[in-house]
Symmetry: C2
Subunit: 472 residues, 2 copies
């Protein structure tokens, strides 16, 4: 397909929507302010029902078929518009729950009394992510207002548990595959690059967290009277950990790297273009060198390689001066970040087997895990998403093969098998999870435009392009 076919007609249709958004700017800002007044704090079970009901009413008024679907936790809001049989279906994912607002005393204006200062709306959830999915909704509303229809099919999925780790999302997706037939997933969450450039992300690393617990004796003993006799749980953890990753930075657990996929040429080319500045990072963090191995590029470090991190290690005396003791227990807490097709469950099993082999006296405790998610950069939808962002925001977005952190994106890519893209709308200084969370009004309005441009771009996508994807 030639992506320029029909561009003029589509452009004209989209410009009318952009004009409508511009004309309704103040109204949309007021509507977001109203929406942000309602707390929906998943961790504290505050306002979840109210906000999910507000969303269902709002989406129904737009003409979408909307409802809440119960889970074992907080309900998921689902809405669908499926009257474009020739066009693809986009699943727009977001979350309507927000972080707790504490510490309240650090907010300049109260977290649930949205306040506009210097071009930003301050409120809990403004950036993360009520302001972002509300922009998606207003994009649909605007398109419907101008054209009486959407150019493609839409499934909107807004969960109420993202801020507590999405414990029900995978089960929901597995139980409702039939309701979730789509061609791609787009998520507006997270923040833009600090330079202000928009990004299109194609996945994220997974994670596997675990504890190593060594308990040797029933009490601490004197290092003189028992030194050389009683085993030391810290030494045991030191030698176990040193057997898991060597000083050169190589993870040495058998089978750990199964599923690690070397970066493709396309991914490498995209990574090279990302503004990852090691020197600036060193200055900001006050570090003199990067982590071992020394010769890796920043993109290789963050996107294409797994990690094994000791998050904490505690045992024995930590106070001032000397205390000549052999401690009787020690604890290490670790996470592994995973890439490509690594399985977080398999990685945990490999680590457990390693511990059993090298230090059978150490207890291995599995904590949370999430598989990585990866959408190929050459997915045909990738370019549609990129062009939508550029059309709406006037800037070429950064193309990110994978984020370093972890999102529950695998439920779409690995469970449903769909390509999945992240298009964050919030400013980098949105202060998500912190007091004085905010979204810049221009980012919010650009988000509505981006949502409209995405729908428009997908509406121009032919069946040929879709089949290209489905055979990819």
């Amino acid at each position: 397909m030639n992506p320029n076919i029909g561009e003029t007609a589509a452009g004209s249709e989209l410009h009318k929507v952009f004009a409508y958004i511009a004309a309704n700017k103040d109204h949309f800002i007021n509507r977001l302010v109203d929406y942000l007044r309602h707390p929906s704090i998943s961790a504290q079970n505050i306002g979840i029902r109210e906000v999910s009901d507000i969303l269902v009413s709002m989406l129904s008024r737009l003409g979408l078929e909307a409802r809440t679907i119960l889970t074992s936790g907080h309900p998921i809001v689902m809405a669908r518009w499926e009257h474009a049989p020739e066009a693809p279906t986009v699943l727009l994912y977001g979350h309507y729950d927000v972080q707790p607002a504490e510490p309240l005393e650090e907010w300049i204006s109260p977290p649930f009394e949205p306040t506009i200062r210097e071009g930003r709306i301050y409120a809990r959830g403004a950036g993360d992510s009520k302001g972002q999915h509300f922009a998606q909704i207003l994009a649909m509303e605007s398109y419907l207002a101008v054209h009486g229809r959407l150019p493609c099919n839409v499934l909107l999925v807004l969960e109420g548990e993202e801020e507590i780790g999405s414990p029900s999302l995978e089960a929901f997706v597995r139980a409702h595959r039939g309701l979730l037939k789509a061609d791609l997933v787009v998520t507006a969450d997270g923040s833009m690059h600090p330079s202000g450039r928009p990004t299109v992300s194609h996945g994220c690393r997974g994670i596997a967290t675990f504890e190593l617990r060594a308990r040797i004796a029933n009490r601490d003993v004197h290092s003189g009277n028992f030194g050389g006799v009683v085993p030391n749980p810290i030494w045991i953890l030191v030698h176990l950990l040193a057997s898991m990753k060597n000083a050169a930075g190589e993870i040495t657990i058998e089978g750990f790297h199964d599923g690690v996929v070397p970066a493709s040429d396309v991914e490498r080319a995209a990574a090279v273009r990302l503004p990852l500045d090691a020197d600036q990072l060193k200055r900001e963090l006050g570090i003199v060198s990067l982590d071992a191995p020394a010769e890796r590029s920043m993109a290789d470090r963050l996107m294409f390689n797994p990690t094994l991190t000791i998050n904490g290690l505690h045992g024995g005396y930590g106070g001032p001066g000397a205390k000549t003791v052999i401690p009787h227990e020690a604890l290490a807490k670790c996470d592994a970040r995973l890439v490509g097709r690594q399985s977080s469950e398999d990685v945990l099993s490999r680590i457990e087997a390693h511990v059993k082999k090298h230090a059978p006296e150490v207890e291995f405790v599995r904590l949370e895990s999430t598989p990585p998610s990866k959408t190929p950069l050459d997915s045909p939808f990738s370019d549609i998403v990129r062009r939508a962002v550029k059309t709406a925001q006037g800037v070429e977005p950064l193309i990110c093969p994978a984020g370093g952190g972890t999102l529950p994106d695998y439920v779409f890519t690995r469970v449903l098998g769909l390509p999945s893209f992240g298009t964050p709308y919030a400013n980098a200084d949105e202060r998500n999870h912190a007091p004085n969370e905010n979204i810049r009004i221009d980012c919010f309005l650009n988000g509505i435009r981006t949502g409209a441009a995405l729908l428009n771009g997908l509406g121009r996508c032919t069946g040929v392009e879709r089949s290209l994807h489905s055979t990819a």
Copy 2:
């Protein structure tokens, strides 16, 4: 020399002293109770002056030339009786300071209101070690009362800072070599074997304590967004520590073992006779195996080999669940126990050089250190001390080549070049450093008898025997 020469005459002389001790038993117990009423807590600077003055008065009344000698810390009490020109001179070392008494609420009777219950005197300092050097003083008093003279020369050195690490003792010894001319040192401190058998110790391991501080970044960072990029101070300590001692238990620091002397046949033979029961220890401490290396005997573990112990390691998160963080700093606290002719200062320099070579970003901080002390088992005085203990207590003492813990004994063996022996009088359950410290009255009385037998035994020692020692 035939050690039996003069035994009958000496035995007769000693039995008169034993009879005097038996006749004055209640009086001696009351005198100890009076002495224990006076706190002398070095760490809190309570009662030091009063108790050192009490000792000088008491020793002067016995006819000794007694005085306090100022140090940069608490004064040292010194007393001498030197009217036996043909006999050797024994330096009796002890300490008149005691541990703080806290937690006070755990004492059944107040720490400075000595109370007799079930054959024990309960008070702070009863065992550690006022009851022990008071027994030495009463031994002299008894001998002087019966015979009007001592059978050998005595230098009594009682320091006031043992419970705070003897910070002034080495400088005192170096500054007053002329006042400290002696043939041997005997210390009554510590406790007897749990079986109730007395011991004669011939030294102790030294110690070198240090910290390893790794500070990498100016703040903790997210393990996803920075994992693979920002170095982890815990990993750095893990790899550094693993380079210092391997999983087989071998310390791998270059030069660390300089001065380690293999145990002699005499020492091995003595060690084999010690009741060191690995199985009982395992049961008591709930451990399933001894520390690596696996094939070492208990005596080798405790007496003849150095150790490297991690006393504590702390960095990053230690709370419940997972926290996906790369910590920015971590701290390890360590001690090495030293043997033979190892130098604690040299060992610290070797460790420092190792750290500089393997992890120059880690800060090495020297804490306290004390060299090991070693008196040969075949020192001619060894047998005199052994026979004195056996004569006084009626039990063959355990001959211990070296204790696992550390005492400031090196000031006598390494600075003054004297043979030095430990003859602890206190019961193994004396609860030193803890609430309800006590000494068994029979142990206290046996201590007086042992002190008398020691003086008596040394009085029978000829010049030939002394010269044997001085050329050893």
